[in-house]
């Protein structure tokens, strides 16, 4: 069972790595933001697997925070600022 979790964590890490390539390559800023969302989701998955693997239930809280704050980052990306005389 532990090996399966380790393998799955490795698979997710690979997925994160592929997202990393897109963050570094992606021609537009939207591609990079999108890949950051992937990194966030993969991170959530990895943390959930680690929480069972390392027997640390607090990592589930970290995963929750990661999910919520990836949303905050995406929100920050799209906020339209008011100009000075709005």
């Amino acid at each position: 069972m532990t090996e399966l979790f380790l393998l799955s964590a490795l698979g997710l890490m690979l997925s994160l790595f592929l997202g990393l390539l897109r963050v570094l390559l992606g021609p537009g800023i939207g591609d990079r933001m999108l890949a950051t969302q992937l990194i966030g989701t993969a991170g959530v998955g990895i943390l959930l697997l680690l929480s069972v693997l390392l027997d640390q239930s607090a990592l589930i809280d970290v995963a929750l925070l990661l999910a919520l704050l990836a949303a905050v980052a995406a929100a920050a990306f799209t906020g339209q600022q008011k100009t000075q005389h709005d």
Partner: protein, 94 residues
Amino acid sequence: MINILSSILILSGVFFYLAGSIGLLRLPDLYSRLHALTKADNLGLGLLIAGVALHSQDLLMMLKLLLIWLAVLAASATSAHLIARQARRQETGS
């Protein structure tokens, strides 16, 4: 029995994750990549959470996992839209 079911769920979750990431790398432009990412990744995460939930020790942990899943679903759907709209704005020049 639980181990077998959990293993199947987790492995298929990882498969969908990898599929989504490969799609992210291979598809031609932003909008198609958004499709690949939001659909495949969320399905992968859902399966993964279902697999991990079978190992959970108490009700609170299961509820937290459910909350994570719902939050990621709603957040990634919304952020996919927002990212696409932002890209569209930049294309049409604002």
